[in-house]
């Protein structure tokens, strides 16, 4: 276990200076934010650096924060270092009007389908993706269903006793 969170943080700060912000360690997983223009540079650095070697992309997803003006969509990357068994998470934020983020398909083949899924549900436009089309929903769909403006259940329903569902 040679790789510690402090060391990763130090390597990243040496390379990118104060462009990376909000370093946190919730439950031991190093988490930080990067400007969205830099996402590919950060991924490249994490992948290629001789000490970091984060070469296994386990998870890629988006989160929608409608109240976060100008930074509504967060794209969250979970990366894993198989040598030191270490994991990090980093986020980039994009505005919902023009959610352009560079694709990571050049580095991780796994990103191909994960980015298609993220596009499918949140409409994040991965610039440079070889085949950016819907994966789980039908192609004719013209909206992005996991965004927060689509409520799942009518909250004004009165025929359902919420107390019985543990929401009282």
């Amino acid at each position: 276990m040679g790789l510690t969170n402090e060391h990763i943080k130090q390597r990243l700060t040496e390379k990118f200076g104060d462009q990376l912000i909000n370093f946190e360690e919730p439950y031991g997983m190093l988490t930080f934010e990067a400007p969205r223009e830099l996402n590919l540079k950060v991924l490249n650095f994490l992948y290629d650096d001789e000490e970091l070697k984060f070469r296994f992309m386990t998870d890629l997803c988006a989160v929608h924060y409608p109240d976060n003006k100008g930074k509504e969509l967060a794209v969250v990357y979970h990366l894993h270092n198989l040598v030191d068994n270490c994991r990090i998470r980093f986020k980039v934020f994009a505005p919902v009007e023009q959610p352009d983020v560079y694709t990571a398909t050049g580095l991780f083949s796994a990103a191909n389908w994960m980015e298609r899924e993220t596009y499918d549900f949140y409409g994040v436009n991965f610039v440079g993706h070889p085949n950016l089309k819907r994966i789980l929903n039908v192609e004719e769909m013209d909206y992005f269903p996991l965004r927060k403006e689509f409520p799942l259940e009518d909250q004004s329903r009165v025929d359902k006793d919420d107390e019985m569902f543990g929401r009282g």
Binding site: F56, L82, W113, L136, G166
Partner: protein, 371 residues
């Protein structure tokens, strides 16, 4: 829209396999470009049974959303529930009693054996042998009966809850699990005699669907499929949850990277699961089966991640909480989704008939992929 088969300008034949096809084990649609009998490209079309479990979970409380996850990878229902329960427990800092931890692990491993049994039967059937299916179901049925007795259900058990397990084990549980292990040990040699050592099957699986360890990592292939390519990715070993770090078992690794390697990993994993159960079944500690928790669970604001090893690979549960009674966002990293994404790469250049062997040893469960 499903188009009929056609011939391209270059003379390649484009055909459909699925969405209703015996070898796809569910509604999976593959559009395959063929040159003669050689596969040039496989394009999976997913989503036929997409239910948007992630969106659904956003409107359910932390006790409720766990039940929906049984419907993702229904062959690893216990393990899916386990992942969610662990994630919620992490956020609420609930201490799970030792009895519940042992029961959970026994249930997980029984599920893993049942899942691999079904895979073994179904895969053999894909390759043209019908008998193994009955052999596998003979043992699997015993596990299902154990589940039915303790959890009340055979497939979607909903047995793991935040804080422990739903109910204590049935008085017959220990005896019946031990009976199962005796039965299993008596019968497992039949598996090897029927399939593993069978030269026809070996020829159909060896050097078919080769996936190098570099590609396995690049595509995020985990579980037995990843370990068949020599990638050491068993979450139970590398980031142990519950009491896996105190148990003795081996991570099964094969380096050949072909279908036969993936086959061997699963067969040997069943033996390791039996080993784990044997260590625990006589040593289930006394005490509570569930920690005392509040009626309404509220996760603090923040992000929680938990990964577990299901029968198919690494399941990651990522919860973003804003402090309410329902999750703000849940993302399930399902193993089948990433494993299937490597199929195109694996299949290119091989014969159409071998595609069935590749899909069989990837162990696809479509609800897990579509969610």
């Amino acid at each position: 829209m499903i188009e009929e088969s056609f011939t391209t300008a270059e003379g390649d034949l484009v055909i459909n396999v699925g969405p209703q096809h015996p070898a796809t084990h569910g509604v999976l649609h593959l559009v395959i470009t063929l040159n003669g009998e050689t596969i040039k490209k496989v394009e999976p079309h997913l989503g036929y049974i997409h239910r948007s479990i992630e969106k659904m979970s956003e409107s359910l409380t932390y006790r409720q959303f766990i039940y929906v996850t049984s419907r993702m990878d229904y062959l690893s229902a216990h393990i899916n529930n386990h992942a969610c329960a662990l994630c919620v427990e992490k956020g609420l800092q609930i201490e799970v009693p030792g009895r519940a931890q042992s029961i959970r692990i026994i249930m997980d491993e029984l599920t893993r054996i049942a899942s691999h049994e079904l895979w073994w039967g179904a895969m053999s059937m894909d390759l043209g042998a019908f008998t193994p299916f009955f052999h596998a179901f003979r043992e699997r049925e015993v596990i299902n009966e154990i589940m039915e007795e303790t959890c009340g259900a055979r497939l979607t058990m909903n047995y793991m809850v935040p804080g422990g397990v739903m109910a204590d084990i049935h008085p017959n549980f220990q005896r019946r699990v031990k009976d199962f292990i005796t039965l299993y040990k008596k019968k497992i040699h039949e598996y090897d005699e029927l399939i593993t050592g069978n030269i026809i099957f070996q020829n159909r699986m060896k050097n078919v669907g080769y996936l190098s360890s570099e590609d396995a990592i690049a595509y995020g292939v985990t579980g037995p499929a990843g370990r068949g390519s020599g990638v050491s990715c068993d979450v139970r070993k590398h980031s142990p949850y519950e009491i896996y770090d105190k148990l003795e078992f081996d991570e099964v690794l094969e380096t050949a990277g072909d279908s036969f390697a993936r086959y061997l990993v699963r067969i040997r994993e069943m033996n390791q699961s039996v080993r784990i159960i044997e260590q625990l079944i006589d040593n289930i500690p006394d005490g509570d089966f569930q920690a005392k928790t509040k009626a309404v669970l509220k996760l603090p604001k923040g992000e929680f991640y938990q990964r577990v090893e299901t029968a198919r690979g690494e399941l990651g549960v990522y919860i973003v909480s804003e402090g309410g009674t329902t999750p703000y966002r849940i993302k399930y990293r399902s193993p089948g989704f990433s494993n299937l994404s490597a199929l195109d790469h694996m299949a290119r250049g091989s014969k159409l008939g071998d595609l069935v062997a590749m899909m069989g040893t990837l162990d696809l469960v479509i609800p897990d992929i579509d969610r």
